[in-house]
């Protein structure tokens, strides 16, 4: 029962004033009272390896798109810690539903350099069989549900997936990533409300990076960010510094614990900044200042984490140089190989629409093959490879 009042009295929209959880300062030292994680050197360095891999991959693939070698790319520059830090707090059996800027989580799970490249080049070794645009990754083996472009659609799906894990009695939950722009979609409302009412162990992790393409967060919502809404749905909620890998990790450890012991969802709002363009089809100089970007570049999450590793005595300039060189070399080599691989055979055009192609689809493929045989010069990627 709610308390009664006997005169009109609003609770104002900014009444909550949700705090931000922080562990690491930008210089890599800890805030007073913050707790350092009990990590082995190997584990800490594995995370750094993943962060740097993604940064180098993003840089190289933006270049590849500029050269016209792939049609599209979308970097996670400045937000690497939010995905790597959170996924490192989960178990391999936990399912991931991503939006598209969480390549760090996939890398942490073991997606290798060739798999990234095969997907971006839509070649015959792509797990997705060359059907989706670059960065729409997915892997059953790594429990990373395939990404799709429509925003927010994965949010109620994650609630359903986690509900199934609960029904099966598994020690597993689902994490769902999305941006603060996607949180304006109806599916955000639907998904969080479904998860709360149906007691579904889902971790909703919102990357609030300040922009949805050109739209600043101030034009996206008027309340106290995305976190304030979680409380309205009755969901345990935390705001965290998304550029602070240790804070994101600790928040996600707590979220997983809460989700599985309470059979309830959790909302984490990770505050960050999209340092790069929205995608290779976007130019941010049209809607934000260089000064603003420079201010946030100083809060680089990878740099912050590196400072911590250095304080621990686990890292130095020489290792840094070698790591970047190794990733650059591997990525370039994989890129060149992926680029040479052929596209999937034409039969993959009709496979997987259904479990088995319908008679109509088989007929359409037959007609297409006859046409390609007649005009092979018009279809050079598939003409020589018809059965």
């Amino acid at each position: 029962m709610s308390k009664s009042i006997h005169k009109p009295g609003f609770i104002l929209g900014d009444a909550l004033d949700i705090p931000t959880f922080k562990v690491l300062k930008q210089d890599g030292t800890l805030y007073k009272g913050a707790v350092e994680p009990d990590w082995s050197e190997d584990f800490a360095l594995k995370l750094y390896d993943d962060l740097v891999f993604i940064r180098v991959l993003d840089e190289r693939m933006i270049g590849a798109q500029r050269q016209g070698r792939i049609p599209f790319y979308l970097a996670s520059l400045g937000e690497e810690a939010a995905s790597v830090g959170s996924v490192a707090a989960l178990k391999p059996q936990d399912m991931i539903f991503a939006q598209y800027r969480e390549q760090g989580a996939l890398r942490y799970r073991g997606f290798d350099v060739d798999q990234f490249m095969n997907q971006c080049f839509s070649n015959e070794k792509d797990l997705g069989k060359g059907r989706q645009m670059p960065i729409h990754y997915g892997s059953k083996a790594l429990n990373y549900n395939t990404i799709s472009s429509p925003l927010g659609t994965q949010i109620p799906q994650a609630a359903g997936y986690a509900y199934g894990q609960k029904l099966d009695g598994l020690d597993a939950c689902t994490i769902c990533y999305f941006g603060e722009g996607a949180a304006s979609e109806g599916d955000f409302h639907a998904g969080l409300n479904m998860a709360a009412t149906l007691h579904s162990p889902t971790i909703f992790l919102c990357r609030n990076n300040g922009y949805a393409i050109s739209t600043p967060a101030a034009e996206q919502f008027y309340g106290d960010g995305v976190a304030s809404r979680g409380i309205g749905y009755g969901i345990a909620t935390m705001r965290v510094d998304g550029n602070d890998l240790l804070a994101v990790h600790a928040a996600t450890v707590a979220a997983r614990e809460h989700a599985l012991t309470e059979n309830a969802p959790v909302l984490i709002e990770a505050m960050s900044y999209r340092l790069g363009a929205h995608s290779t089809s976007d130019d941010p100089t049209g809607y934000r200042s260089k000064d603003e970007e420079a201010k946030w570049a100083k809060k680089d999450p990878i740099l912050r984490y590196k400072h911590w590793l250095t304080h621990k005595g686990w890292w130095d300039d020489e290792k840094e140089k070698a790591l970047y060189a190794r990733h650059r070399e591997n990525i370039l080599k994989a890129l060149k190989e992926a680029e040479k691989r052929p596209v999937p055979v034409i039969d993959e055009l009709i496979n997987d629409v259904y479990d088995v192609p319908t008679p109509q689809l088989q007929q359409q493929l037959k007609q297409l093959k006859a046409h390609i045989r007649k005009y092979p010069d018009k279809y050079p990627k598939t003409a020589g490879r018809l059965d």
Binding site: M95, F97, D126, L127, G128, K129, R131, Q132, H136, G138, S139, K140, N145, T146, S148, P150, T153, Q154, I155, P156, Q157, A158, A159, G160, Y161, A162, Y163, G164, Q165, L167, D168, T174, G186, D187, H189, A190, G191, N193, M194, T197, L198, N351, D352, V353, Y354, D355, T358, P359, Q360, L361
Partner: protein, 325 residues
């Protein structure tokens, strides 16, 4: 065998499916303890527990989004949309997500376990939003299967097949027949094939084709035509997507004439697809243009429901016109 109406047959199918496979889960608005606004899910919660039969918040996009996730996890959700008219908030989840889940992931993930049940169709004074027949919107979407039963026996057999099919299925239930259509239904577990039409009555002069509640109208019109000496062949399409082209084309090659009838508006209704396909595949056999007797291109009306409806006299008139072409 038991006497059941169409609703009881659906309830019996859900009961049968949930008893046979604990992965089958039923949910939607008012589906839980209350048993659904039409009572299609009566007693399922008390038999299988709140975890497997439950109410959701009132959000169609949420219901289907949740169902997509649950199906991709390996369960077999049977999601109910209270009226077909309210399926549109979930259009994005169905068209962009459900239908493309397997294809876009290279079969890494799929939602083949999903079945979406929804009452459809007019004739119950339901006005704009309790009468629509939205099947054609979905028939334009590769990756979905669409099924419509015409009587209790079919409802049980087709619903069981839909739940167990390894593809997402939209199952449209003719609500006008929920209590009006009564018949013998086997008590045991059985399935009827998806993607396969059924020749309900053999004839020589003209092929009449429909699905769901409209089958009753065809039967009535065929009886009227019989008095004039016209021998109609009647086919129930049963599956809208994928549809049984061969059975329909074979029939038209025999009769030389085709009449397609559906409650939905005529323009871009599924009759257009059938008409074009038959024209391509049986061109030399056709002795008259394929004719469509359908709803008008208006929102489903209230006071003029009878006039709107492609009823038996309209079908009868069209049969005569086709035969005298």
């Amino acid at each position: 065998m038991s006497q059941m109406n169409l609703l009881q047959a659906i309830n019996n199918a859900l009961d049968t499916a949930m008893a046979a496979d604990k992965k089958v889960v039923s949910f939607g608005e008012d589906v839980g303890h209350f048993g659904g606004v039409f009572r299609a899910t009566s007693h399922l919660q008390e038999r299988y527990g709140r975890d497997r039969c439950f109410n959701t918040p009132l959000t169609e996009q949420g219901i289907i989004g949740f169902a997509n996730g649950l199906a991709s996890q390996g369960h077999k959700p049977v999601a109910e949309i209270q009226f077909g008219d309210y399926i549109f908030p979930a259009f994005d989840q169905i068209v962009n997500e459900t239908a493309k889940f397997r294809y876009r992931s290279g079969n890494e993930f799929n939602v083949g376990g999903l079945t979406i049940r929804t009452p459809y169709g007019g004739g119950i004074r339901g006005g704009h939003y309790h009468s629509q027949s939205p099947e054609a919107y979905f028939a334009h979407t590769p990756g979905l299967k669409i099924v419509v039963p015409r009587n209790p026996h079919q409802a049980k057999g087709l619903l069981l097949a839909s739940i167990r099919d390894d593809n997402p299925v939209l199952f449209f239930e003719p609500k006008r027949l929920y209590r009006a259509s009564v018949g013998e239904v086997p008590d045991e577990d059985y399935e009827l094939p998806l993607g396969s039409a059924e020749i309900v009555r053999e004839g020589q002069d003209i092929t009449l084709l429909a699905w769901g509640a409209q089958m009753e109208v065809l039967n009535e019109a065929a009886q009227m035509a019989e008095k004039d000496g016209v021998d109609c062949e009647i086919i129930d399409l049963r599956s809208i997507l994928p549809w049984d082209v061969d059975t329909v084309v074979e029939s038209v090659k025999k009769t030389g004439r085709l009449l397609v009838s559906h409650e939905a508006p005529v323009t871009n209704g599924f009759g257009a697809e059938i008409s074009a396909t038959v024209q391509e595949q049986a061109f030399l056999y056709l002795e008259a243009p394929v004719t469509r007797v359908c709803g008008m291109d208006v929102p489903y009306p209230l006071s003029h429901e009878v006039e709107y409806h492609p009823d038996a006299t309209k079908v009868f008139e069209a049969i005569k016109a086709t035969l005298h072409y």
